[in-house]
């Protein structure tokens, strides 16, 4: 294998190719070959660096020098100066736009930090209770441009081309949602911000609303203008008092400055926003259930169609978007769809906020470009597994998702890759599990949640998830059979197939995915009656070590269910089927012969 002294990486992403990076690539090839360095220097066409506005981009490895806006002539200078003489071409280095600081090393460039924050861009930077700080970072500029200079079709077009998809879980293209609602004619329309964040462990929506409420208000106004709504509704769970308070303040300030209300910025656009408190039912995150609840009805989903875009709040066309989705809108309007769609993967553009939780060192929120791998998030950003234990799995999509195992750690995360490995994006909860986690127990945990949060409307979800939970309990109690596993699987598929809404249709996912990836662990529970992690107390087994047992009969005498047999001076044995795990034998044994389950 040839070892090259130097690699020249030329960006071959769409953005850079359109700015003639192919010419630059060919030029390098020619120059290096004619200079006779082709055995030492390799020219590589790479994937997108995600920094297309500065393209074409060229990186020199292992020097880790990063050149931007390179043309054919620059290529000549790079070869002559850098490759041949080892002198960096300063004028082609990236300069930070504000400080004009020149940055040589790639990893020092903020862009190439693993995290890139669009939705969270102002969180922790500005005072959320001061509208002027939001305006200072460019706030309401997007709204201003939209309502003074753009027509509704143009905005739809931008959002569609940006590739933004719903961040609440479904991943439906936002632009198309806006377009459909826009095209449905009605005297009244509504735009709703879904802030009913219910996925256990996920809290990015709360953080956005607490840290940057105006961002969401501005986006809602843009959406309202686009679809033709003059009324916005934020449906938020009452358990988020701080977010509600800050939204209240933000709405008031925006009204005072005329950024909400009538004739916004001197135009004829009228728009106002109202906050609606929800009681925090998980199912109210489903848009039809949310609308029912907002109308004061029971929070349960309706059969779709009709979709909210056709018949939504009070029977009028309604567009429901999630908080994080909205938080991307002003940045897209200001920076352009090309910028946004240059970030991420082919079918999933932009970034995604994840809430890291579980057995991970850096618990918290991260926002990464789509296409970042699990390994990068867990190890590079999350700081690895607590106590340096072994990684076992990570759950995405909360109770609607599934587990991702070691083999998929290098999967670039996006909507489609996740569903192809049996999970889903969901709202962005990411719960990391180590080797002390029992996967059957995990599945049971999620089922306990979903069956409790089921609205009770349809049979599969109301009764089916309850039965799944019961079967899982049976298994973790050590009473499961192989038949139960078969039934569990059959019931799972039926519930997926037959439930009325997304909650029910995805409720079996944690079971199906743990059964797929950790089948052995299930079998251990039902066949060998062992929980390999020792989590399932019902499977704990007291045993007598024949090496140590002297046959004193002390244990047999104290056993309340008389399940220990053995003659005097012979090894005693515990009948596992009758043992109630009281631990009396363990206490009674003076020879440490009774082994307590861990």
């Amino acid at each position: 294998m040839t070892v090259y002294r130097t690699n020249i990486l030329v960006c071959g992403g769409t953005g850079c190719v359109s700015s003639a990076s192919l010419d630059v690539y060919n030029k390098f090839k020619k120059l290096i070959t004619s200079a006779g360095y082709d055995k030492e220097v390799k020219i590589i066409k790479t994937g997108c660096f995600g920094f297309c506005e500065q393209g074409p981009i060229v990186k020199i490895e292992p020097d880790n020098v990063f050149y931007v806006k390179v043309n054919k002539k620059d290529a000549e200078e790079i070869v002559n100066e850098h490759i041949i003489k080892g002198r960096i071409v300063k004028r082609l280095l990236y300069k930070e736009p504000n400080s004009k600081r020149i940055i040589e090393k790639h990893q020092n460039m903020p862009f190439y930090k693993k995290q890139f924050r669009i939705a969270l861009r102002n969180c922790g930077l500005i005072n959320p209770e001061d509208i002027y700080e939001y305006i200072a970072v460019g706030g309401y500029e997007a709204l201003g441009r939209v309502i003074t200079k753009m027509n509704r079709d143009e905005i739809v077009d931008i959002i569609k081309k940006s590739g933004l998809r719903g961040r609440g879980g479904g991943g439906f293209p936002t632009g198309i949602k806006w377009e459909i609602t826009k095209n449905n004619h009605s005297d009244k329309k509504y735009i709703i911000c879904n802030a009913d964040e219910g996925d256990p462990g996920a809290f990015m929506d709360r953080s956005i609303l607490e840290g940057d409420p105006h961002n969401v208000l501005e986006a809602m106004a843009i959406g309202g203008y686009t679809i033709g709504a003059d009324k916005g509704l934020i449906y938020i769970r009452a358990e988020y008092p701080l977010a509600i308070e800050r939204l209240d303040i933000a709405i008031k300030q925006a009204r005072e400055l005329g950024l909400l209300g009538n004739n916004i910025l001197g135009t004829d656009f009228n728009f106002d926003i109202e906050i609606k408190l929800g009681a925090g039912a998980f199912v109210c995150g489903e848009e039809t259930a949310l609308i029912n609840s907002a109308e004061g009805k029971r929070g349960e989903p309706n059969y779709k169609p009709p979709y909210p875009a056709q018949e939504g709040l009070w029977g009028k066309p309604t567009c429901v978007n999630n908080v994080e989705t909205f938080a991307n809108i002003p940045a897209i309007i200001l920076n352009g769809y090309e910028w946004f769609s240059s970030i991420g993967t082919e079918k999933s553009k932009g970034t995604k906020v994840f809430a890291l939780a579980g057995k991970i060192n850096n618990v918290g929120l991260v926002e990464v470009p789509m296409g970042t791998t699990f390994r990068e998030i867990i190890y590079d950003i999350g700081g690895g597994i607590q106590g340096n234990r072994k990684f076992k799995a990570v759950q995405t999509g909360g109770p609607s998702g599934g587990v991702i195992t070691e083999e998929n750690l290098d999967t670039p995360i996006d909507y489609d890759s996740l569903s192809s490995i049996g999970s889903m994006m969901g709202s962005g909860g990411m719960i990391v599990m180590d080797d002390t986690t029992c996967m059957v127990d995990v599945a049971k945990f999620y089922l306990e949640f979903t069956q409790d949060e089921s609205c009770g409307r349809c049979t599969p979800c109301r009764i089916g998830t309850k039965r799944m939970f019961e079967i899982l309990t049976k298994i973790t109690d050590g009473k499961g059979t192989k038949e139960d596993l078969k039934n569990l699987e059959q019931l799972s598929y039926m519930i997926k197939d037959g439930s009325l809404c997304g909650l029910g249709q995805t409720a079996p996912n944690p079971v199906l995915s743990t059964m797929k990836f950790f089948k052995d662990e299930y079998l251990q529970h039902v066949v060998n009656k062992v929980c390999p992690t020792g989590r399932c107390k019902g499977l704990a087994k007291y045993k007598i070590d024949p090496e140590k047992c002297v046959g004193c009969t002390a244990c047999a005498k104290v056993c309340p269910v008389e399940c220990i047999s053995g003659k005097l001076k012979e090894t005693h044995v515990i009948d596992q089927n009758r043992c109630i795990k009281c631990g009396a034998c363990f206490e009674a044994c003076r020879f440490n012969a009774v082994i307590k389950p861990k």
């Binding site: 924050r117 861009r121 969180c123 922790g124 930077l125 500005i126 970072v137 005329g258 950003i381």
Partner: protein, 132 residues
Amino acid sequence: MGIKSLDELRKIRENSIKKIDLRNQGNEGDNIEILIGMATCGIASGAREILNTLAEEVSKKNIKNVKIVPVGCIGYCHSEPIIQVNIPGQKPVIYGKVDKDRAIEIFNSHIIKGKAIKKYTLDIDFERAKQL
């Protein structure tokens, strides 16, 4: 008083932009700012006490050019409460796991003497999207 046009909005932006620059780059400005993460996560881990402590220090020492600004969360839940010190002309510094004693220590060293306390600082591993 309402903003009547996009131009008016932009004027307001011009006037407010400097202090945000300070937070990003530590560029110009007259005042020292202490940002404190006051989202639910921060408050839950004690940010309110830190806010009060810092405010007390400011008034005790009668320092005029320090402003305390409550902000949202930067996602470092593992290190809350978090404060950020912005001194004109210097790179902003972020401190994590700030308890009452640390807050006073940081105040005395960094705000008063201009000396950051390295061992309490956090590295920022993210980049914020800029709005053009």
